[in-house]
Amino acid sequence: MGEGLEQLSHVSDRAGVGAGMIPRWVAPCVVVAFAFVMYASGGFVGDYASRVMLDTGIMMIAAVSLTIVNGFTGQFSIGHAAFMAIGGYVSGWLTYYGLLATLGRTTDLGAEHGWLLLPAAIIGGLAAAGAGWLVGLPSLRLRGDYLAIVTLGFGEILRVLLQQTDRQRFSSQEMSEVGLLGLIVPPDVGGASGFESIPKLTNLAWVYLMVGAVILFAIRLKYSSYGRAMLAIREDEIAAESMGVNVTRMKVRAFMFAAFFAGVAGTLYAHQPGTLLRPADAGYARSFDIVIMVVMGGLGSISGATLAAIVVSLLNVGLLELADYGAMKWRMPIFALLLILIMIFRPQGLFGLREIWDFFRSRDRTGGGR
């Protein structure tokens, strides 16, 4: 009898979230963490600490979103920063020139403009998802390592293209001289010297709201029948196809979801106080950081990627802290060493394919660590 009920609950899981998959304590923890961040953003945390928390949160969004491609579907995308850059440049162009045209300035904004970040993030995300479709469709049709090559190439091409963009306009008068079309082709986003004075709309509340959104989205996805199909692709493409999964379409969707949230992360980054959006932000250096987080966290582990994003970000901060002693040149060697150690001692990443809550559940899922 009990068996029959369990079966039914399995079936009901198909439609939405396996609510039973996640222990009850996760939700309150998230709420408490969020409340803390909201409180902290009210000035409790100093400038420096809040800067670190912003950086960390943005990297958490990037890492969790890349997990959907690299972890769920088992594809290897190594150009995630390019989608961040697209989100950042597109949304930055909109908010910067939008405010310049209507308000005449993009700095010293009052709190009443804070809401602008939400449409900016959505548009930045959609722009990145569109780019994800263009990049993903041809390369995900083919099996093999095409995606890695194409995404890497895409990031580098984008970086070079961004360097060739027109210089930025700094007044509404200048804007009307070039006209709307002139602002768009080629975009007046500052070329190699970077895109300055994007309105500083990003704050801790926005960042951690988006962190919550991407984590929630990824969890819901993972335990839906949709997400299970993605995991099946990672495990065995041919078998997934023979179960009726449209493998190419599902891979492209995963890629677009990931690109969307990368675009959101890029929007937050572009509008963050103290950052200058530059063409180099699209390049491989940043992309590798994100890949490292996903690999470190364990392929497909949302909580693993989140934790790894925190670890890598804090490590970056620590090295920056010791910059006076020449620590920055040790950054890549230290990351490389860290990766090697992980590959030796925990090749499946911190959590493997599991989530943090799986460790608190029944142990009967033997061998689940792989």
Binding site: E3, Q7, R14, A232, E235, A239, E241, S242, T366, R370
Partner: protein, 235 residues
């Protein structure tokens, strides 16, 4: 005819794997395709289920042409292919593997019923529902592959060497179950190297040799055929 294959050619690059293969599967029957290693059995199944495109020929399923229809689109039409090597999702639980079998369906009650039926057919899977499928033994994995396929409620089940690498009593069990599945109305196209067992359970049989059908007929008749005996039944 539930399935008919006309004059199929398949190439892998320059290599011709099938030349003019024709076969028919009548609804309700078990039809087996036997032949040695490299004869083209797997290729035939893959061409039928749309995993590879034939260079010539036609595949008709249930009165409609399905040549080059992609595999995923055939599942909801009732054609399910259990690929060679089982294709277990090793890092997903047995239960999740079964759920994926019903990926194309949305009738909850029907799925629950079929799931129950599959678990009755393979009680060992019920004990291991929460276990990762990769930790199952070879025989259990084959059971899972077949049970999972049944959850798509196929009208035609394509099985590629289900007995491969299994201990003799498990081979016996798998063939018994194939017959049971057929008994509930599922048509089966069975590819086997174990010609003896395959001919014993099947209604009809085709013998494939270097990409061509060299013999066909009622399974019982082929079991007595001197050439078949010599080539595939060890004398």
């Amino acid at each position: 005819m539930l399935l008919s294959v006309h004059d199929l050619d398949v190439h892998y690059g320059a290599i011709q794997a099938l030349s003019g293969v024709s076969l028919e599967v009548e609804a309700g029957q078990i039809v087996t395709l036997i032949g040695g290693n490299g004869a083209g059995k797997t290729t035939t199944l893959r061409a039928i289920s749309g995993m590879i495109r034939p260079t010539r020929g036609r595949v008709m399923f249930d009165g409609r042409e399905i040549t080059s229809t992609p595999a995923h689109a055939l599942v909801s039409r009732g054609l399910c292919h259990v690929p060679e090597g089982r294709g277990i999702f090793a890092n997903l639980s047995v239960s999740e593997n079964l759920d994926l079998g019903a990926y194309c369906r949305h009738d909850r009650l029907g799925i629950a019923e079929d799931r129950e039926r599959a678990l009755e057919l393979f009680p060992r899977l019920r004990e291991r529902l929460k276990q990762n499928a990769g930790t199952l033994s070879g025989g259990e994995q084959q059971m899972l592959a077949i049970g999972r396929a049944l959850l798509s409620r196929p009208r035609l089940l394509l099985l590629d060497e289900p007995s491969l690498g299994l201990a003799p009593q498990l081979v016996q069990l798998i063939f018994t179950i194939i017959r049971e599945i057929n008994g509930t109305g599922t048509t089966v196209l069975l590819v086997e190297q174990n010609a003896h067992m395959a001919l014993a359970v099947a209604h009809r049989a085709y013998v494939l040799q270097t990409g061509r059908v060299v013999k066909s007929g009622p399974a019982r008749q082929l079991l007595e055929d001197p050439d078949v005996k010599k080539a595939y039944l060890g004398g």
